[in-house]
Amino acid sequence: MNFDFGRVALVLVLAVVPIIGIALGMRAPALRSRIPILIGIFAGLIPIFSLYIPKQFLSGPTGMSPRLDQWLIILAGFALLLGIVNVVQNNSRKISRREKGWFFAAVLLIGLLVTSAFGIWGWWTKMGIGFMPDGSPTPFKWVEDRFFQPLQSTIFSLLAFFMASAAFRAFRARNTEATILLIAAGLVMAGRVPLLEFLAAPFPPLHPSASAASQFLGGLAERIMDIPNGAAQSGIIIGAALGAASMAIRVILGIERGYLGLGQGE
């Protein structure tokens, strides 16, 4: 058994103290929110200290900060089950009450059960979820390739259509701001493809100038992306980073705690 200082400290504060806290909380309701917040302060300070203190017990490969990171990856993995329980509850209720669209709820549940069964089977048999030794896909992989992948990329590709409809509707010269938006969008769009050469295609005498103009538009688009766009992005990032950092202080100190279902303030 490995009893490094960092590891033991982590277990003490993040496992033993909560257990004591739960025991106390059964008696004293006031502690039900106070102790989690105190532990939160500790957990929140670990990565901050780790940025500046390179000591082995804190930042080494198995120090407190990387170790806690690994713990929480596992915790996030477990959390998926919370979602699944909710989905199964909601959909089986729909089916049992024969609500409108119960058939589709059944389709959903069958898809969920079959795919996860393949995944669990692959894990249990150590076959994995990729390819079998003979190079043929596992059932999980087959479902991934034939159901999951095509649907995923098709929904993703709907964006091409929505880009066009949103552009048509939104890019109108209503006021100064909207006009600037419209012009920037138009210039960059035109600069990304040999649009002028396309338009000049039926007129051979225009080809050389169209090609030159095309190159110019391309350079202009790049410049717009680089300078005004880069500047605005920097401005947004700096402002947002300050806002995020100040929110982080409030969350770590337990001032902002709506996510725990507790009211604002003290």
Binding site: I120, S153, A231
Partner: protein, 212 residues
């Protein structure tokens, strides 16, 4: 072989069903969408089990329990998360939630100050001492960064000095949004091309025997 042809038909029909949403909501789309929701959730069960829990939890515990005994704690925290289904002691889940949230928020804090604020402000410190084109670009950049920052002042009413600067900042924001929108069209269209290619080459061309 038959399995493969079947697979292509399934993929092609699901693609069409998903695209049909563009016309309007219909039973085919609803079928595809429900199936997708279920299959995708099941997919992540497989992924989380095989690619998150196996290498991060089960494998290390099996290989060397002495070095990894502490990995039992996330299991404990996971149980605390589920306790919220027991209304009387639902508050126990706060422990897991609070540790999860504050740790990552600590990471975020350092990332913002260390990784964003300082380097970004440093990047804006450009020399403006000459009269040439690159200096003009630098000047535009500097003006852009600071006018956008002035737009983000909240605790003071804008006055005769700051109002025009903030307005300029909004203009920079608008250029940025328009340009980024225009820049993205190409990548999104490439996705659509990918789907059409699949329908044509894997499904339609072989179906009609077009090979050249």
């Amino acid at each position: 072989m038959i399995q493969d042809a079947l697979g292509i038909w399934i993929a092609a029909l699901l693609t069409l069903a998903a695209l049909s949403f563009l016309y309007k909501d219909n039973p085919f789309f609803r079928f595809a969408e429900s199936l997708f929701a279920g299959v995708s959730l099941g997919y992540y069960v497989g992924i989380v089990l095989n690619q998150t829990l196996e290498p991060n939890l089960f494998e290390p515990m099996r290989q060397d329990f002495g070095q990894n005994w502490d990995l039992l704690v996330p299991g404990l925290l996971g149980v605390m998360l589920y306790v919220r289904y027991v209304p009387k002691i639902a508050w126990v889940s706060r422990y897991a939630l609070s540790i999860y949230v504050t740790y990552y928020i600590g990471v975020e804090f350092t990332r913002r100050i260390h990784g964003e604020v300082l380097p970004q402000i440093g990047r804006a410190m450009l020399p403006l001492s000459r009269f040439d084109l690159p200096t003009l670009y630098s000047a535009v950049f500097v003006v852009g960064v600071f006018s956008v920052l002035i737009y983000f002042f909240f605790s003071r009413e804008q006055n005769a000095v700051t109002r025009p600067i903030a307005r300029l900042g909004v203009w920079f924001l608008m250029i940025s949004f328009g340009a980024a929108f225009g820049f993205t069209v190409m990548g999104r269209v490439a996705l659509l091309i990918g789907r059409l290619n699949f329908l044509l080459q894997a499904w339609l061309y072989p179906l009609f025997g077009i090979t050249s």
